[in-house]
């Protein structure tokens, strides 16, 4: 019995000696070239990621610009068609600039996208316009105008606003859809209305 224990101890000791010897000998010179190749791969990954991020931001900017230009034109053209409005000098209230009330928004919850399960350290939200048909792919039904505060059906855009969560790696993680509610139309003084006509 003691012989067996002695043999076990001797084998363990011999294996420890082998492990220590292997550790001492572990100076893999050939691995410097391996490390060099791997570093180049990491740099390539970083460059590809930065390019992807730039593309995403560029795309988002382009979409935003595409949505902003028509909106700006609409905003500029509106006052021109109705002519300049001169506030009555007798009304102090009407003379004050009419501040545009803040737009209200209704949003959906954030809906996960294909890469939602990929861990990410940081992310940013990019607002963009997407085709209205995108709602259907998330099982959402495009809302119809139902109140006086919302745009008329004719004015319903072919696109909807979406907030997209883009991770630091350039992959989109989630999206939510935004519905802008038009502010209530302020009461216009009767005198002012008559003057424009």
């Amino acid at each position: 019995m003691n012989d067996v224990h002695d043999s076990e101890r001797a084998l363990t000791s011999a294996l420890r000696a082998l492990a220590r010897d292997d550790e001492r000998r572990a100076s893999p010179e050939g691995l410097s070239s391996v490390e060099g190749r791997l570093r180049a791969e990491v740099r390539a990954v970083g460059a590809a990621r930065r390019a992807r991020l730039r593309r995403s931001i560029g795309l988002a900017a382009a979409v935003l610009a595409a949505a902003a230009v028509p909106a700006w034109r609409f905003a500029v053209r509106g006052p021109q068609t109705s002519g300049p409005v001169q506030p009555p000098s007798t009304s102090a209230a009407a003379a004050a600039p009419i501040a545009s009330p803040p737009r209200r928004e209704i949003t959906t919850a954030f809906l996960p996208l294909a890469y939602s399960d990929v861990p990410v350290a940081g992310a940013q939200i990019v607002r963009m316009s997407v085709p209205r048909s995108a709602l259907a792919s998330f099982g959402l039904t495009p809302a119809e105008s139902s109140s006086a505060q919302e745009p008329a059906p004719a004015a319903v855009s072919a696109t909807v606003i979406a907030d997209v969560v883009i991770g630091d790696d350039g992959l989109a993680r989630a999206v939510r859809f935004v519905r802008a509610m038009e502010p209530a139309v302020p009461t216009v003084p009767t005198a002012r209305m008559e003057q424009t006509r």
Partner: protein
């Protein structure tokens, strides 16, 4: 196995940074773990393939790092798992499960056969004996004895129950002692002849 348990959270952060193309994070991970992976590959399939295995392991970590789940274990455990996958591809077609049905090696082994080895004079003989083990036994000896890994970690790398690791290690040690005793007998026979 200190490297496997200490700084696991740091390693996970380094992996995330590496995925974003942070070369310094990669260099830190490589410096911390490449030696263990290289040694494992060397002990399992020889020097010729060891460098390639290291390269494949870190490439996999870089390209498929989203597969790494910190909740399931340390980065080094994950790297061992990838390394094992690549090592098995390089082993002969007989596969890792070969020779598991060998005779039960319960032959008495003279302690003197190992006395010399324990003095560190014949480490090469132990190395040769380990390398001559069937792969299924060799990998438990390499992980549990040479890399001083606990059974649970070894089982997660080998994708088998802990009991299997225990029984394979037991049989592997019996095999080793038998092989070393045979070498000792041969040497004694030579010296007498």
């Amino acid at each position: 196995m200190k490297a496997m348990t200490s700084g696991a959270g740091d390693d996970a952060r380094l992996v995330r940074r590496m995925r974003r193309g942070d070369e310094a994070a990669f260099a830190t991970l490589f410096a911390a773990h490449h030696a263990a992976i290289h040694r494992y590959a060397l002990q399992m399939c020889g020097l010729a393939a060891a460098d390639d295995v290291v390269q494949e392991v870190f490439l996999a970590l870089l390209r498929q790092s989203h597969r790494y789940d910190p909740a399931r274990g340390a980065v080094l455990t994950y790297l061992y798992g990838i390394a094992r996958h690549h090592v098995l591809k390089r082993l002969p077609a007989s596969g890792v499960e070969s020779a598991l049905d060998d005779d039960d090696h319960r032959t008495a082994v003279p302690a003197t056969a190992l006395d010399d080895l324990s003095r560190g004079e014949t480490v090469d003989r132990v190395r040769q004996a380990v390398q001559s083990l069937p792969p299924a036994y060799r990998e438990v000896v390499v992980l549990c004895e040479l890399h001083e890994m606990d059974y649970e970690t070894a089982a997660s790398i080998l994708e088998c129950p802990i009991g299997t690791v225990r029984s394979r290690l037991h049989r592997a040690r019996r095999l080793l002692m038998t092989k070393l005793a045979a070498v000792q007998r041969a040497l004694v026979g030579e010296s007498r002849g």
